[in-house]
């Protein structure tokens, strides 16, 4: 695409990013508002953060959410990577079409349907709902995202590297562990991150899968948001936005630096 700076482009980008970011910026600013009235500025205060940290229900919900997210995203990464490997490398086997269908279907399935189906399963097999059922439900839908991320990396991966490992005496499992896995590791990590955020973020599926005793943070936020804006939620949102922003920027800086280092090394090698 040829690059031409124009006022039209500058304007549309500016307006677009204002649209994307202004609501969150307002949220952050008003989390420091001392008034309970969330649309009138009454001076700077951090009291809502204090109240938030003193609110046991929120802290409990946050703890449940974190537990679920770590467990389900780890499980999903293992299963999703296996599924990706099967999709890209296992060749033909009976029921392959059904398998790839089951991988892609959850990506486009409305959450209400997935959640409903999960709940009905847990009830029919008589499973008590709680953290474990949320983990199972989250693992199932996030593993599909992991497998899409990992398989897109596997597709571009030079198969002859694995063949070289086999040729040099590796067993297929050795070849996977010592050659394939290190190379697809960045994709596996981003798969894990994606699964983790999806799990943290999920309201609908968790609402179906959770029992009365286990409430996740999104469920807690949702029930208080239905009552309207509250400064405590603003404070909580600010914390969550802050964590994500720091995380994403760090990740992008790390990957940028490793790309830069690789490039520098390649140039040094080319000069040598």
């Amino acid at each position: 695409m040829n690059r031409r700076f124009s006022w039209f482009n500058a304007t549309s980008l500016t307006l677009g990013f204002v649209f994307l970011y202004l609501p969150m910026i307002i949220l952050i600013i008003f989390s420091f508002n001392s008034s309970k009235l969330v649309t009138v500025w009454a001076g700077f205060s951090t009291k809502w953060y204090g109240e938030l940290l003193g609110n046991k229900a929120f802290l409990d919900a946050a703890w449940v959410t974190l537990k679920v997210a770590v467990l389900s995203s780890t499980l999903a990464t293992v299963l999703g990577t296996m599924a990706a490997y099967v999709l890209v490398r296992a060749g033909r086997f009976a029921g392959r079409t059904l398998f790839s269908g089951m991988i892609y279907a959850p990506l486009v399935m409305p959450e209400v349907i997935t959640g409903l189906a999960m709940l009905l399963l847990f009830i029919s097999i008589g499973m008590d709902r709680g953290v474990s059922t949320i983990v199972l439900a989250h693992t199932t839908f996030t593993m599909c995202y992991v497998s899409v991320v990992v398989s897109s990396r596997l597709v571009t991966f030079d198969k002859s590297l694995e063949e070289a490992a086999l040729d040099l005496g590796c067993t297929p499992f050795d070849a996977f562990r010592s050659v394939t896995l290190p190379i697809i590791a960045p994709a596996v990590i981003s798969g894990w991150l994606l699964a983790f955020t999806l799990s943290l973020d999920d309201l609908v599926i968790a609402s179906f899968a959770a029992g009365p005793s286990s409430t996740t943070l999104p469920m807690k936020i949702f029930s208080s948001v239905r009552l309207g804006v509250s400064p405590e939620i603003n404070a909580l949102s600010t914390l969550m936005i802050g964590i994500v922003t720091v995380g994403v920027i760090t990740a992008s800086l790390v990957s940028k630096r490793s790309i830069a280092r690789q490039r520098a090394e390649e140039q040094a090698a080319a000069r040598a």
Binding site: M1, S12, P110, A117, L120, D201, R226, V244
Partner: protein, 298 residues
């Protein structure tokens, strides 16, 4: 076939069968059952201990009654139609908002693009719920938008936006904008700049070159973006519940309420089955577009 390969294939396969396929079979089964005040709140239940007779009576009791109920009750088909309409309108608005952004990104200089890309993706990592929530304070009667418009003197009484369909459009456009921008951007970025120069060289004005070359060649990205917005918007639950009003009918919300408030599981299941059937058409069209893209790239 060696054991390792079997384990490798069977583990994710069985997981998906048990936790994805079987639940859907259950949904279909319950959609064909009847509502009952019992635990679980539907009949029949499969009684395997009664042997063949049990299975026969089980299948004999299944019927399409719930679906005729859905068809006869105006609430449901209105909810489907209104979901389709809201999803379609928001998709069009998202396209109109997203295309200029994607175009601007594609024309930006190389050093700016990664930053712009990150700026588009960043909201995707932040909580969906929070992003929807952030609009309550803007759209409410005392909200920032009304304050701003009153201050400008454009209006003299606050506009009611929150709890209307308009707020739902805003919510959908806002949360799904990255899904529209990214595929269009990737289509525009691949576009060879010399094509535009060639068009100008052959007598096109800039606007004509955009209309005749850029737009048709970004069509696959536009189609992908539209489906990526339309499909999830159709079954959306969070946005209509938070931003929409009591008059906002969306099928995801109806399903949720049918299940949790009315505890009518068979009808909720039937609602889900019909929603799935509606979704199959755009999903197949989307897959076909992706397939065509893959083939074109080879």
């Amino acid at each position: 076939m060696n054991l390792r390969r079997l384990v490798l294939i069977a583990t994710p396969y069985l997981w998906l069968v048990v936790f994805f396929l079987v639940p859907f079979v259950i949904v279909f089964k319950i959609a064909l059952s009847d509502y009952a005040i019992s635990i679980p709140p539907y009949t029949p239940t499969l009684d395997l201990s009664a042997g063949w007779e049990g299975i026969k009576s089980f299948f004999g009791a299944l019927d399409f009654e719930n679906f005729t109920f859905l068809a006869s009750d105006a609430l449901y088909w209105k909810a489907y139609l209104s979901s389709l309409q809201i999803a379609a309108i928001s998709t069009v608005i998202t396209l109109l908002v997203g295309y200029p952004i994607a175009y601007g990104m594609a024309q930006a200089s190389d050093e700016w693009r990664p930053t712009l890309m990150m700026l588009v993706i960043l909201p995707f990592w932040t909580s969906f719920l929070i992003r929807v929530y952030s609009w309550i304070g803007i759209l409410s009667n005392e909200g920032f938008l009304n304050q701003f418009l009153l201050w400008l003197g454009i209006i003299d009484t606050p506009l009611t936006i929150l709890n209307t369909n308009a707020a739902v459009y805003v919510g959908i456009v806002y949360t799904y904008l990255p899904f529209m921008v990214l595929p269009i951007y990737s289509a525009l970025e691949k576009l060879d700049g010399s094509l535009i120069e060639a068009a100008e060289d052959l007598g096109c004005s800039r606007a004509q070159a955009f209309w005749l070359i850029t737009l048709p060649l970004s069509k696959p990205g536009v189609i992908a973006g539209c489906f990526l917005v339309f499909i999830p918007a159709l079954g959306e639950f969070v946005i209509p519940s938070i931003l929409g009003g009591s008059s906002t009918l969306m099928i995801g919300k109806v399903l949720f309420e049918e299940f949790f408030s009315n505890r009518d599981w068979p009808v909720a299941s039937a609602v889900a089955v019909v929603l799935l059937l509606i979704l199959i058409v755009p999903i197949i069209l989307f897959q076909r577009n992706e397939q065509k893209q893959r083939e074109a790239n080879q």
